[in-house]
Symmetry: D2
Subunit: 341 residues, 4 copies
């Protein structure tokens, strides 16, 4: 950590200097000082990950503070050089294993979800996704079948013999997720810290989606919240960030894949359906994700997109999905990765 002081002529007796020095001493780091032409630079040597950068910033002699090391530790590749593999129901995610999670945005009926479960599994999807609790911008939009939807997913899981992933929206629903294979934390909850902390105390695999306006560092800090509680079973998911353009719902940040792979050992998958909002963009963006090194894909599939209760515009039909999967399977092989199914 580097602290830049406002001037270059502070004496050691300056009370502000003494106050800041004492504060830093709490953290068992050493201070090296450089007297510049206008400012003074303090370099903090040691483990600075626990120091609150905002605390330093508020000392009156401080002009600016900058981290040299990343503020996350458990998620940091520096301390865990090998790729993590998340093992779920016999499927591996990460480190050369590639998984697809497919299914409808919302669970709508037992028949629908079981039917899609069988179809996506048949096309090569390793997981069934489906929303039971649905975060919707409008209170007047369909809010999901909720606990009933979870039950339908569990029924489909049994019927099609496929593990399931579904989103949690509130801590109070956690009990319903006992047999869910992967718990998804959605984009709007990426910084719901109470939820993250509690999930850190479970051993459940977590699919953590990037907030639509969160930096990659904030994204990894949210993973750190879960890991700090003791749960390292995290799969990251990039699903588009907000921009000024309106031709797509969000801008899919494909470069997040190699950036995160450099910073962290956690696997990262891509959701081209929510990112773009249009079914015609799912195919090219899925291929781009594979080529850029993603560990998996989350794709919306609906048996009848025109009658879907949410997000039909971005869903593929099972037939379209099957065709896209044939190409994905070849591409995963081209990249030298192992398809999980």
């Amino acid at each position: 950590m580097i602290i830049i002081l406002k001037n270059n002529d502070y004496s050691e007796e300056n009370p502000s200097v003494q106050k800041l020095t004492e504060y830093i001493k709490n953290y068992d780091v050493n201070i090296s000082k450089i007297i510049g032409s206008q400012t003074t630079i303090w370099g903090l040597v040691g483990d600075t990950s626990k120091i609150d950068i905002d605390m330093i910033r508020q000392f009156d002699i401080v002009e600016n503070v900058q981290r040299v090391a990343e503020p996350f530790k458990n998620a940091n590749r520096k301390f865990h050089p090998d790729d993590s593999i998340i093992d779920v129901a016999g499927k591996k995610i990460g480190a050369g294993y590639f998984s697809v999670m497919a299914g409808p945005c919302s669970v709508e009926s037992q028949e629908q979800i079981t039917d899609i479960a069988k179809k996506v599994k048949n096309s090569g999807s390793a997981f069934l996704r489906g929303g039971a609790y649905k975060p919707r911008t409008s209170p007047y939009s369909f809010q999901g079948l909720r606990d009933m939807g979870i039950n339908m997913l569990l029924e489909a899981k049994k019927a099609a013999d496929v593990p399931i992933v579904t989103e949690i929206m509130d801590l109070s629903h956690l009990d319903y997720f006992g047999e869910v294979d992967i718990i998804q934390v959605g984009t709007r909850n990426m910084q719901n810290f109470e939820l993250l902390k509690e999930l850190g105390h479970t051993k459940k695999p977590i699919l953590l989606k990037r907030g639509f306006a969160n930096t990659i560092e904030e994204f990894l800090m949210s993973a750190e919240y879960i890991m700090a509680g003791g749960n390292s079973n995290i799969v990251l998911c990039e699903r588009g960030i907000r921009s000024f353009d309106n031709k797509t719902r969000n801008v899919l940040d494909i470069s997040a894949i190699p950036v995160i792979k450099r910073l962290s050992h956690l696997p990262i998958i891509i959701d081209p359906s929510h990112a773009t909002g249009y079914s015609y963009l799912v195919e090219p963006m899925a291929y781009a994700a594979v080529a850029a090194g993603a560990d998996g894909l989350m794709i919306e599939v609906h048996n009848d997109p025109q009658n879907a209760l949410s997000d039909g515009a971005q869903s593929l039909t099972p037939e379209q999905f099957d065709k896209v999967m044939q190409s994905i399977i070849k591409r995963v092989e081209f990249e030298g990765k192992i398809m999980q199914r």
Copy 2:
């Protein structure tokens, strides 16, 4: 609502046309059609607020859908032309009444919060703000005193005879907020819909902060969530939006004040402290907010910003705050508004 169809030569017997027509008929609206040079336009006449725009988009003949009317109703000025006044503990917010809410980012001790409570009240603040549950990006940063912090706030409320506002982070904490005067929903929870729904079932005044990357329409839709549950005691708060610049923490969107005033009858206040992240910007931004028509301000005040456990860099000392308040009082008067204290 306007639906733009892909072509201009659909027959009434086209099954897609029939399917879409039937779907729309569910909502008791009429369809007027314009045959364009390349497309067909359907205008939906009637109350379209309950129609899910994403549902329409997924019909295969649909090129695009656009709302003409806003998707919110309870929060809409069109159906409630007069400014709402939110009445809290004898103070009025909105419709010409101006309120300041001041206090520390975090409650740190009983002595601290009681001391600040007395000082900010003395300077003219109508409410004491203080954080008990703190949303922090890092799991290693101070997380607030939590329920103990609430108790200290209630003690300070009694000691200084000043109503309090404090943030809720999870539904499970709601019980602690019984004697809190205004419950704040923070920027990261603006789209925590389960929380919004539940708060809609209380009668508590809610301070709803705009998400740092949410549109004004989404902001008002979140207010609509609370109102749809029956609770209309909402004060909106603009606190900066994320941008590409880094000279300020966020960009304070001052124009949100007149835009929201045109769209909605709800009062809107400004938080210049969190928006900018720097104490030197609080004063000019507070003055700008008053001039642009805000109904109030939320300002961070800390007795010892350099030793604050969070966000000291953006806090004013009680002395600085007192000076700024003297100017704010004059400016509120200049605007012909009535200061609440």
Copy 3:
């Protein structure tokens, strides 16, 4: 074009209605009207591409105006369904032909540019890129060798027998570009309309880079400026858009490839070097671009990145480039496209 009027009870005698009607009549379009529950909708039927949407917006009875058809015509796929092929010096760009343009950010010496020209050609690059005029944020940074740089590029072109692409920064330099094969318009000049107009009067192939904060529609409108002057030899280039994250210089908008392919017949290439700003990201982003359907790539290659006079941090060495090219060639083949070299 759809015009939404403020109320639903305008009479034909209303002078504002008459004024707006007369204005629209100038454009030889018909008006169809829908009386809504709160507003009136006018649908304009005919060729509305010449109507200035801002002009309509200013009539006092107008609430909002929305285009149904895109505001560009020459660049529009609707009127030119087949992919355009841009033919430059015997190389084809677009419609299944794939071209790489490689070379240093800045031309630094004759020896450097000739050496790189031979190497990139040898690795399979169809074009040599190199900057002579350099747009730099700081007046104190290296500004390029300017006309001398152009001469060096032309010398390298001859020596290595490879066509060249280089950026123009001001109309007054146009004379120097006589033997340049492709004239690049940089991101900061995408809306330098005087430049675009003048380039429209040449027959030169133009590489038009997307402005770092411009929408796809604005991007295509800038192409339209050039095409309106009579020059259809345009290659579009996506090179990253500005966002709130700082882990990459910009966010590479890979989805712009399929979006633009749907809207326009013009070829689109990707510049992963400028987009990301880091050499380690060039390889995965190049592969993603190929997979998403790009018609080519622009890649920075420098013989000695550490001593480059600009943007060395994002440059590959010729050896790294050669290795990446071997993979690109295989991937282009995988996609069923024809590599140009």
Copy 4:
């Protein structure tokens, strides 16, 4: 300037270390080193403003580089603590003097511009603004009367005895600007560096508008381009930045006023008309700008907004402007500033 090296165990004999050391020695600065727990930090002491940060970044041992001092010098308040006053035609801008520049977006006829000139002057505007060369997104929109428009402005200047400000779009038009009092550089040309350089060689007052997606640092670097050429007569203008919301054309960054005032001695004015795009927002945003410390305002006024050839939607009528000006005059007085007229 701080350089963070990748490791903490480099020997002095390491050739990369030697290469970087030699490079830095060219700039007459000293290097102080701190050996950290994972990295090495080099602090560069001396005048680093001429060092190209991108050059440093490309050395292979460099992890990151950060400036401590701002990269601009002439525009920097540190080296010029007092506010600059720009003196134009007897009017002062900056340092407590407040100026309004008003007029139509486009000059449309002699009668129009002379009429508005007289009216805005009469209402208290110090300058007449009017566009002769118009940057328009579409080639099919009105492009301005160009040199003829300049002549009309000069005629109006004489007739109403009011200095004028108008935009330049290309260097080749510079000759027409001989009698123009302030030359405006528009948002799309803020980084047209060839234009900036040339304007630096004139003595003309320049109104430099912030690019709609440029940081404040880039904004000041563009001012630095002009100042480096010898011209310090610069008035900065904030006119809104691009965001994800669409309720306003851009987001007016009011906090740019105090931020720029802290970093630079140059005056800064606000353009609420272009920033918001709606006439109903001009009044509250103008008042906010005055309260936040702006040195002036640029406001669009059109005698007949509904028939304006550009941007009528954001124009005030002369009557509306006169009313707003009465309030502005009172507010400027309230702030203790001196109105120029």
